[in-house]
Each structure stands twice: as C-alpha cells, then as structure tokens.
C-alpha cells in the first residue's frame, strides 16, 4: 500500500530528526560517565535548565533560536560545573552508586527550583510561524531541519574537540585511564570540570532542541532521560554518528558495562 509506505517514510524522517536531537544529551551523559565514572542522572535537570535558559533569552530578549541554543549550552554547562563542585564531587569518594543517588536527589532539587520560578505550565518558544516543506508525500518542518543542523553541528564540534585539540586528547586520556593520565601530568581536576561543562552544556542543548519541537515544562529533561540512557548504552549507534567523537567509546564497546570491567578510580 503506497499510503502506509509514505507513512513509514514520514516516520523515518521524523525518527531521524528526533534521534539526532536525542544523541546530543546522550553524548553529554556518556562523556561525564566516561570521565567521572558514575551515571549522572542530573543530566535530566540540566536539560531542563538549558531549555528554560533558552526560553528566557528567546522570549524576553527575542534572541533567535540558534543563539538561544548557545545560551542554553553556556547556562546548563555553568550550572553543571557549579552543581558538581558543590554537590556531587564531595560524594564521589563514597562510590559511584552513592554519587548516582545524590545525582537523583540533585535532579529533584533542580527541577523544583525551575518549577518554583516558572510553574508547571507548558511553555512554547517564540518562533516565527513557517510553512512545512513538502517533498512529494513527505513533510518536514523548517524547525526540524534547523534542529537537525544544530544537533549535527554540536556533534561535529564535539568530535573535532576530542579528536584534534590538546584538551580533547587529555579528556580521552583521563577517560581511558585516570592514573596513567595523571602520570603524564594531565590535571584530572581540570578535565573533570571541562567535561562537566561540556556534558551538561550538551544536555542543555538537547533539552532546548526537544522543547523547540514541542513545548517545555520542568519535567522536560526527566521525560527523555530514559531515551538518553538507552542511546548512551547502545553506543554503537552514537559512536557511528559522532565518529570516534565519543570519548571512551572503544573501551565500553569492548566490555560493555561488564562487572569485570576494571573499575578505575575517578578523579576527585
């Protein structure tokens, strides 16, 4: 039936856009996991923070969507660094699981800070109304295309950063083996800070991109966190998308989350 074929094609297009957007916070989650070695559930609330930061500059100051995405990155990243320093870093010596529990508690707190300020209402970004583009039976919104482009640019930037810059290489070194990296004089502390900034920044971009498609509320981040984990765990797909861009990707592919994977000590 041509009708259902067209439907499948349309779903494939939508799925491609949604999946690419989802990969952005997933890379953030993965990067933090690789360097700090605990599942940082507060990616959820930082996605929400990014979405609301973008919302404020977009609706109050009338920044265009792409500039608001940049603001989402910076605000969520900065929040990530501060929250890690104040809340999660002191818990790290107690182990990955305690830190993970702390991250869930942190997410609850941050979500409610957003809720306290903005309330529970759904909010939409201030975007120009544009007609969908039509290719035969396929429809695609200009905003979807813009999101796709932003997501791809963000991932390319991550790839270039990790593959070609000195700091990026240092980050991969810490992700691979913290002890060895520190022997080579890499400041693990600084790498951890940078990873938090970048990782949570990407989470913020992801939250904003998801919100551009629909609307945002304090639970925006939490709602997608499962898909983010799934994307992060099924890393083959992301690794393929971002090339070698995902730090630590090779390592986890070799022994994915196995109990016998060497538990290296995360930087303090």
């Amino acid at each position: 039936m041509p009708g259902s074929l067209e439907q499948i094609a349309q779903l494939a297009v939508n799925g491609l856009v949604a999946g690419t957007v989802l990969a952005v916070p997933a890379i953030g989650f993965t990067a933090i996991y690789a360097v700090l070695r605990f599942p940082n559930f507060s990616v959820a609330s930082h996605a929400t923070i990014g979405a609301f930061a973008g919302y404020v500059v977009n609706t109050a100051w009338h920044w265009p969507a792409w500039a608001a995405v940049a603001a989402a990155f910076v605000v969520a990243g900065a929040a990530g660094v501060v929250n890690d320093r104040l809340v999660l870093r002191p818990l790290r010596p107690a182990g990955a699981l305690t830190t993970a529990i702390g991250a869930v508690a942190l997410t609850i707190v941050l979500e409610n800070v957003v809720r306290f300020v903005f309330g529970n209402d759904l909010r939409g970004y201030d975007l120009p109304i544009r007609r969908d583009w039509q290719w035969g039976p396929l429809r695609i919104g200009p905003q979807q295309v813009e999101n796709l482009v932003i997501a791809v640019v963000a991932m390319l930037a991550v790839f270039v950063f990790l593959a070609f810059t000195r700091t990026g290489k240092a980050m991969r070194a810490v992700a691979d083996d913290t002890t060895l990296a520190s022997l080579k004089g890499i400041d693990a502390e600084r790498v951890a800070r940078l990873t938090n900034f970048g990782g949570m920044g990407l989470a913020g971009v992801g939250g904003m991109l998801l919100g551009l498609d629909t609307s945002i509320d304090p639970l925006t981040g939490f709602r997608v966190i499962l898909s983010v984990f799934a994307a992060a765990v099924v890393r083959g797909a992301i690794a393929g998308l971002a090339g070698a861009g995902v730090p630590h990707g090779g390592r986890l592919r070799r022994h994915p989350a196995r109990a016998d994977a060497a538990p290296a000590r995360p930087p303090r």
Binding site: V87, A100, G102, V104, L106, N112, G119, A230, A261
Partner: protein, 313 residues
C-alpha cells in the same frame, strides 16, 4: 467533628503511611543494604504490587488477603527476572536499568487502558472491612494491620540478617568475586534477594491500593523512590530498624514541611509543592554528605571465631 478527632484521624493516617514507607524501606534494605544491589526503580515494583492486588480483588473478586499474596508473587517474579537480566552488569548500570524499569511500568500502566484504565486509574479498590465499619474504625483497623505486617517483615528480615544466609548476602555486597570463590552461588543469592525484596515492595503497593482505594500511574513517580532511599539512608543502610525509623522520620519530615511552608506568605500551591519536594532532595543530599551511615549505622552480628584447633583442621 470536633478538632480532637480530626487530629487523631490525621495522626492515624500518617502512621499508616509511615508503616507503608517502612515496608518499602525494609524491602530496599534487603537488596541494597544487605546484598549491595541498588534498586532505583523500587516504585515500579510497588506499582506492580498495587495493580495486581487492585485488579485481582476488584475485577477478579478474590479476597483481599489473596490479592496481597498475588501482589507479592508477581512482584517477586518481576524482581527475579530483573535480577537475572542484570546479573552480569555492574552496579551503576543496575541503577540505570532499575530506574528505567519503573518508568516502563508507569508507561504501561498509562497506556494499556484495557487492563489498567490508563491515566484515569482504578478507583473503588476494596479495603478490609471498608464500608462495614465507620471510616474512623477502618483507618484504625488498617493501621493495626499495617503495623502487624511491618512487625512480621521486620522479624523475618532480622532473621535473614543474622542467619548464615544474610552473611552470604553481605559477603556478596562487599566482594562478590570472593563470595564466588568461597563456593557460594552468587547469582542464585542475588536473584533470591532481589525477588524477596521486590515481593516486600509489592506487598507495600498492594496495601497502598487497599488503603487509599485509588491508584493511577501518576501515584508511582520516581519521587517515591527518593523518599524511600532517603528513609533508608537517614535511618541507616543495612540496618532494618534504621529502615523503619527512617520511614517514620521521612513521613514526619514531609508533614512538617507541609505545615512550615503553609505559613509562608505570597506563595502559590505549585511553589509550595516545589519547595517541599526540593527540601526532600536537599535533605537526602545533606545526609549523604554529613552522615552517610545514617542515624542507626549497620552493626554486624557478632560471629564467634571458631576454636583454634577447629580452624586448623
């Protein structure tokens, strides 16, 4: 109604909820405190128990006691399956997967409308002697039942903790490779501990449904998991008495924030709710930071060393 009975009814209701939280904290303590496996999706098992018992008693017409047993069985099976699936994964991945499980349960409950009535939830769940006695008497009866159940579960889990079985669980928690080398079937112990724990969580869910007479997907939010983790951490991970104490403290704390925030001027209901929830998260963070062992830290049962001659043999 005069003020005094109002206060009494309120206290009875809160004590009942504290008992339900105590069951949840005891269930978590078995798997996390004793066996060292994290379960951040405990609200999922709680929900499974609640739905099983509600459906069995309301649609299936079975007695409430049987519904609770069914809740225990189904939740335990779900726990065993979860433990088998995640058997080879490291602890932090278990955290992700259990969190995922609870969300899956919530999504299934929201969308499988033929079974669960979707987001409208199930109302009119029967309670023991509800309708045949006055509401006040029902509340008191339920509190007694819940307290009895807490006592039974506490007794059983204390037996487990002091038994050689509990010692194996602690050994697995501290180092499962060493336990395996010592000849213990680590996987079997893990699966059993997870199943038993999930069963306790399921029973708590069943009681919740029979007590409040209404369940819906939005009841089973991750915040409940946080409440329970907070209760156990505050009380003392690994200590069953601590779990019960922590549950009562958390319910007391939640209610105290209700009154405290009520006096704050100029805040809307959403803001007050946000303030209370963030206080819960904040207090968990503070306890993790300043007193991670909890108010009643785990005390290992004393084991008499065998006489020297016997050890040498």
């Amino acid at each position: 109604m005069n003020g005094r009975t109002d206060v009494e009814n309120y206290l009875v209701a809160m004590a009942t909820f504290a008992c339900l939280y105590a069951l949840l904290a005891l269930g978590l303590n078995l798997v996390w405190g004793l066996a060292g496996m994290i379960n951040l999706g405990l609200v999922g098992f709680f929900a499974v128990g609640a739905y099983v018992s509600a459906l069995a008693t309301k649609r299936g017409g079975v007695p409430i006691a049987l519904g609770i047993v069914a809740a225990l069985a189904v939740a335990a099976v779900a726990g065993a399956v979860m433990a088998l699936i995640t058997a080879r994964l490291r602890g932090d991945y278990l955290a992700i997967i259990t969190l995922g499980f609870s969300e899956v349960v919530r999504l299934v409950a929201s969308n499988e409308i033929w079974l669960t009535n979707g987001t409208d939830g199930i109302s009119g769940i029967p309670g023991p002697w509800r309708g045949r006695v006055s509401p006040v008497a029902f509340n008191v009866i339920f509190l007694v039942l819940a307290a009895l159940l807490v006592t039974v579960v506490l007794g059983v889990l204390e037996r487990v903790r002091h038994s050689p079985y509990g010692r194996v669980l602690r050994a697995i928690r501290d180092d499962d490779q060493v336990a395996g080398v010592a000849g213990k079937h680590v996987l079997r112990f893990k699966v059993e501990a997870f199943a038993l724990s999930a069963g306790v969580l399921g029973v708590a869910g069943a009681l919740w449904g029979h007590y409040t007479s209404f369940i819906a997907p939005e009841v089973f939010v991750p915040l409940i998991t946080i409440y329970v983790v907070l209760a156990l951490t505050a009380g003392g991970t690994g200590n069953n008495w601590g779990a019960v104490l922590g549950a009562f403290l958390v319910v007391f704390f939640m209610e105290a924030t209700r009154f405290a925030t009520g006096w704050l001027p100029g805040l809307g209901p959403v803001q007050i709710a946000a303030l209370r929830e963030s206080l819960i998260g904040l207090s968990l963070l503070v306890i993790l930071r300043v007193r991670p062992a909890g108010l009643l830290p785990e005390r290992l049962p004393r084991v008499e060393p065998p006489p020297a001659g016997e050890a040498a043999r």
